[in-house]
Symmetry: C3
């Protein structure tokens, strides 16, 4: 499309048809270009086994087309009708404690269910056959937020699928035994038939079993996507296909999923009351752009409050616009909302919509109209791509492994990554997220925060990147385990030991808060980034590196906290804790790499991003803020053109 | 009876018969008038299927009668014997995760169980036939604290009963689909057979399904009462029947239950260490009096500590007397305790009794005797009724709906109600609780705090009440949903929009404490009740009303926080937050209504209530306090006569 | 053995055989004397039903023997192989909610499983027959940390075993009914067949049922030990047998277990970051020495961090040595570690080992070598016994009963005991733990802290101890219940009422923290130990005793807090709260008993223990500390010889 997608999920089945007329009128007033239709309509489309009713959908699509609104048509498979699940209870998902979940909400199916697959395929084929040539059809929208409520299913059918997946991966059970380290705790399997999902057990489950089950589950959900997409490609060739991602979602390895999509779309719901919302949102947009390798669609956001937090704050004036412009600035070619018209019943009736309960005469609908108009003026950014000089590694294997039971600490992987991301964000330096093991030669700086799982190859790739002139910043808990979760023996870090000039002897995180009376325990460092540090400490032995900071006091007194070493044409830093003044570290790295920010001396709370020939300045402060010659109103933005 | 009921649960089956003689002697010393007998004696009465043993009960009732103690005779159905549940495990209740609960505690049955019903009916009939004409029989006591541990049962038998209930309510499944809004999330049912209880599901269950299951469950427990009462009425006509309520108990809609009882009785166990205990207890007594429409019986309280909190505080000197007098002042014609003699074994052995472990020579037994004597002197209040000028709406549908998953906020309904109640209590202004939709014309003031669910009729009734001269105070989250949990579109509040002169555009509660580092976030308001406010904020648009306060700062800056409008002969206030100085609002409302407190300038911590020709002054302070000419000792009381 | 056991769990099956050569070499460097072999090797020893493979174990034992390392040979029954549990799922343990736990971790069996028993016995017999005469065999190590993950199993097979156990204990169901107090809540059983384990129920389970199920479960696990030990004694007579205890482990009554072992061994993992670690560790060593009645083996500790806390702190320099010497000082004849070589895969790979991931060139391995050398020089302490003058009662029945649901308060039993223990520890006064009901006449002082459950006989024994000249200190919540959990009526304490000269009328603990805004509520006392007190208060009535302290303020104002009475030749104190200045109470008691500390004026943070002719001075401070003429380095020790 040559315009920015603007619109939202449109669920007319919740309303009588006289409202539908009003919908098209209001969409036109708001400048809506695209509507996502049919996401939760399976029970309406197929009220009884094999009886399809498309009349109402014909009507809806006809009205939208007549109104100039294009359609992102959902395959409607996200919530099976009650009749299907009750006729086939074996398709219902099962928790790790063995509870079979019930109908009455949504996503009540196992991704491995053959019954679900058969019925979903029949529905998708029927939809594709009917609407492949519809003039309003812009894209296909497979299912919805795959895995959001059921990231892991422990049913017998999933167990069988897991065994099939393991057999394909390992070939022989001996190979599996070696990979999983089953000699420990007497877990040796004599055949694949003995292997189970990691159901509730007396104590810690096997770590590699857990990780493989995470990988399998992610793949099982990818299988749900691929089965639907295959039908769509066959019946409706040439129409692009997507499914909506959920940003930093632990359940699915989006690097793998992204490869299967024609274009990437994402749902994002930052908490308006959270001071960290702008940076979390920015990181999410950058992750999605990195997954897409270019432009993407913001598929869902709320116009104001959501309904699933314990307190659902509204968005203050301007915040919805800022978040929308932030998405465009960071690569989005679409700004879509959930949902067009706020429901009057059901589980999401308190989730804000583009047309709120209060109706047209409301702040929210006025903002809906204004945003539509503004986005209409940004059509020329559509399709333009951005190049970052910084890459931050992001890896689902590391996420899954680091947050398992029985690890060195209760580190929260995305929080460790965000500590680093934030420093680039507040300088207006664009960041890509990168998958370990891929080509990083285009980046001036690569940061590896808590990249817990790195294969020998990936470690060698990072070492080679450094020696070829790259700046590599390695954070604690990186390169500890290989892809089978076996330890890189001899000081961890594998091939990075050489470029860093260090090895790690022991981990020594500060005490649990419960020990220190609830207060978060801290460390102290001297040298670069002197002051307080948090969350992590360890015994670093320097073989050949410059010590930039040392720990002060406690059992780590005098040991290195930050090191630096020149290797070949590049430089590698190791950072063994989380300094409060991480800025000092990032300054040193950026100076060394010669990377300058988009806007010098960016004030606190202002975000700066360049896309195409436009510079977006976003003022997240509730007060007026000056940037160079520009005065940005409270929660206001300026879009400057070169 | 012409005397106040005084006594307690009497469980002689826990003791050898030589103790029984001592019991009657001590009861006489303590002025006991009534004993509740047999609550947990099913296994003793019917040790094997169909083998009844009444000999011991004949003996107990004979002794009590000889000692001048009347009997509130329990039907003994509260705890089925092990042999019954083990022969019929399908009668055991099931949790929403599918766990079938075991024998070994009490209340181990589904209220929908046909087996339970058959055996319970047989027992009740046998008891009624044997004791209908017993000279000691004062009343029948059905079961015990219905639903206290099993408010909701998710067994297959309950599922079938739920379907029957739904069929009776909705007639056709299409009507149910419309009411539940099943078009959303593809939940449309094609027959009642497909409908399930809201068992554990992947995510939020359908809200109207949840509410209907709450209503059904309350009715199922009412069915347990009604089945027993029908037998008692048939076999033992003329003897009044009750079952013991539990005050603000979320599980049952006591408005519906109260209609079925001959007289209302209540169990109440405030935490002696809780500074809010006096006001919580007062509100509970007022709720029970409102349910009864007149006098009622305090059926259970502790003489000192209970045994089910994590720390079980004892009652300081005087507190047990104060709570007892408070009950009488607020309409109780009986002050009963659980239990007469503290158990020496079993799950409640650490729950205090009228005769404690320490025996007769103890503070507790001396207080038991003194209280009996004092209550003996208050016989003339028996039967006297009270008229309040203030009604506070209280509604189980609103409670259930407001505290569901996926609501605007985590408001605790009774806490919102108590904020308002407390202001009347501390002024010595008597309050009735009232059911929405009933005739409120007798009240000078009606308060509707968070009355989340109000039908169109109920809203129109409140509007008419106002126009006819009433003072209506509407709190936040009132009139949001109708009785099917469909939104009152166009600004919420329905017919109240007109009498209030406002509409609500958006909810904007302050952030979750987790966002603000654990501190409870607050708001500020200026004008009436200026200062801090808590818990709630929203975007109020004034069509035609006087703004009495506005929000200051934040996204609501300058928007109305409190409004007032004269409508017809009355006045309506809207209060969009929880001001710390709620007193200022209540003062304005009471002034406007011309309602004066019982005692002017009541000191903090003193409660004043008039019943009949007596004025009760209760000093909850641990220090001596003067009220007019009266000096009240620490935790002391004065009962003044006109 | 005439040397201290030094070594650790050795799991060579995790490594290729070329590592085994290195293991023996490094063991010799480290002075290792004993290795525990085979703990988790069932699946390796019996990879398929009945197919045994001992070749690798022959090799391992041969290498160790050749290297001069003796072997503590495990029976390998701790973790059944997957094939066994999957062929017999009925052997898997079941939670109280009915969840059958899965394979994939360890200890996935019910201690009552006949299938498990049959297979485990076959394995033990095969091992014993093969290795009974092996020249390296030092001892047999039965199973591993019995019950650590599955202290209670609620399966049907356990239910049947529980009934058998109850039948043996009670003879008739009437006796059980009387003991359990089943007249309350209508729980009367008509046959043993009706009795169930305390599975999830609507509310509080019967307390005596709970306690008997605790006792039964402890005995069921003892049965696991005894079945294996019987085979070992038959096939391999004369070789001593142990299993590794876990210190203050609630699951098992170690008084009963200890009687069945040839020698006692213990696993202990204090949190290096916990300031209370030294005193907790000291108490644990004293408990184990008391259970053993003499020397014992420290069977497992970590060289540095563990892997199962949320933050796993490393041990600072010197701490591992201090903990090891502390064990020896308090009776250990062995200092063993888990495990020899840190795993490179599996659930415990982040648990430190004697040979860490970093290899030989590491702080940890250097400490391993140094400790081996130091322990080698302490061989002469082996076998030497110690006599304490102080006994502190420790009782699993009291632990289980005090921490049940529906008790007076949420007291944590071991924490109450540790308050007292700490006062002796900081003075360098050795303490034995003693089992209630045993002969205490050898002790100058007996302390009974929260010994909630005491039989009439045990109470009379304590009274007789006092009258014969003993000093008895009775803490709150002692002697409340008898061994059936029936109350000692008339003021609690039974026969102790006379020697104490008091009775207790009521419990009055301070409020829950939730009531007082999260702060821990405190009390005040005046007199001995004046100041703040915590956790407990009660209404004490003095019949004939000296009041040493009184409560100040609140409902207990003026009532006794601490009393003392001379009885016969002895003295008895009662302490009704937890004074912050407990030292004052202990000083008075020690003075009265004429017990002097090992070292006068011991500085804070220094521990002093005499064993044989050696005085161990352990400086837990991170700073240099002087004791008399000795200067102890930070976390340093001195071992002085007479």
């Amino acid at each position: 499309m040559d315009r920015i997608w603007y619109g939202g999920d449109y669920n007319p089945e919740q309303w009588p048809r006289d409202v539908w007329d009003d919908d098209v009128r209001l969409m036109q007033r708001a400048g809506v270009t695209v509507a996502t239709v049919g996401v939760f309509s399976w029970a309406r489309l197929e009220p009884r086994d094999g009886e399809f009713d498309f009349e109402w959908l014909d009507d809806v699509l006809g009205r939208l087309h007549a109104g100039g609104v294009r359609v992102d048509l959902a395959t409607a498979t996200a919530s099976p009708p009650p009749w299907l699940a009750l006729a086939h209870p074996e398709m219902l998902p099962v928790t790790e404690e063995g509870v079979r979940l019930s109908v009455g909400s949504r996503q009540h199916y196992s991704p491995s269910s053959a019954v679900y697959r058969r019925y979903a395929d029949r529905l998708v084929r029927a939809l594709a056959e009917r609407y492949a040539g519809h003039p309003a059809l812009e894209a296909w929208h497979v299912n919805n937020e795959l895995a959001c409520h059921v990231p892991r299913d422990f049913s017998d059918e999933s167990a069988a699928a897991f065994r099939t997946w393991l057999t394909a991966k390992y070939g022989t059970v001996e190979t599996l035994n070696e990979a999983w380290g089953t000699q420990f705790w007497s877990q040796g399997y004599s055949s694949f038939e003995e292997v189970m999902p990691p159901r509730a057990a007396p104590t810690f489950r096997n770590p590699t079993q857990l990780l493989d089950f995470d990988r399998f589950s992610s793949d099982a959900w990818l299988g749900v996507y691929e089965a639907e997409a295959a039908i769509l490609r066959e019946v409706s060739p040439g129409v692009p296909i997507t499914t909506n991602f959920m940003g930093f979602f632990k359940g699915l390895d989006y690097w793998r999923h992204a490869e299967a999509l024609d274009f990437i779309s994402d749902d994002h719901y930052p908490d308006p009351a959270d001071p960290a919302a702008p940076v979390i949102a920015a990181a999410t947009r950058d992750l999605i752009r990195s997954l897409a390798g270019g432009p993407w669609i913001l598929m869902e956001q709320a116009t104001s409050a959501v309904n699933w937090r314990s307190r659902n704050a509204a968005k203050p004036d301007g915040m919805h616009r800022l978040l929308s412009l932030q998405a465009v600035a960071r690569g989005a070619d679409g700004v879509m909302q959930f949902q067009w018209r706020q429901s009057k019943a059901g589980a999401e009736k308190f989730h804000s919509g583009m047309v709120p309960h209060a109706g047209e005469d409301s702040r929210i609908f006025r903002e809906t109209v204004a945003l539509g108009e503004e986005l209409g003026g940004l059509a020329d950014v559509v399709g333009s791509r951005q190049q970052a000089h910084i890459a931050v590694l992001f890896d689902w294997d590391s996420w899954w492994a680091l947050e398992q039971e029985a690890t060195p600490s209760d580190l929260a992987y995305p929080m460790v990554v965000l500590r680093w991301y934030r420093e680039f964000w507040r300088r207006g330096v664009l960041v890509d997220f990168a998958r370990p093991g891929t080509d990083l030669s285009g980046y001036a700086v690569v940061v590896a925060p808590a990249t817990h799982v790195l294969s020998t190859d990936a470690l060698e790739g990072l070492a080679a990147y450094t020696r070829s002139g790259g700046r590599l910043v390695v954070g604690y808990q990186t390169g500890i385990l290989d892809e089978q979760l076996h330890v890189h023996l001899g000081g961890y870090l594998g091939a990075l030991r050489d470029v860093l000039g260090i090895r790690i002897e022991e981990f020594a995180p500060p005490a649990e808060p419960s020990i220190s009376g609830g207060a978060l325990p801290t460390l102290e460092i001297a040298g670069l980034a002197a002051g307080t540090a948090e969350e992590w400490g360890e015994v670093v032995r320097v073989d050949d590196a410059e010590v930039r900071s040392t720990f002060v006091g406690g059992m780590l007194d005098g040991l290195p906290a930050i090191t630096r070493k020149a290797s070949g044409d590049g430089t590698a830093w190791y950072v063994a804790t989380a300094p409060e003044d991480l800025a000092a570290v990032v300054d040193e790295v950026l100076d060394s790499a010669g990377v300058a920010p988009e806007v010098p001396d960016l004030p606190e709370g202002v975000e700066a991003v360049r896309r195409g020939d436009r510079l977006f300045l976003l003022n997240w402060n509730a007060t007026e803020t000056r940037v160079g010659d520009e005065t940005l109103p409270p929660r206001g933005a300026a879009i400057l053109r070169d």
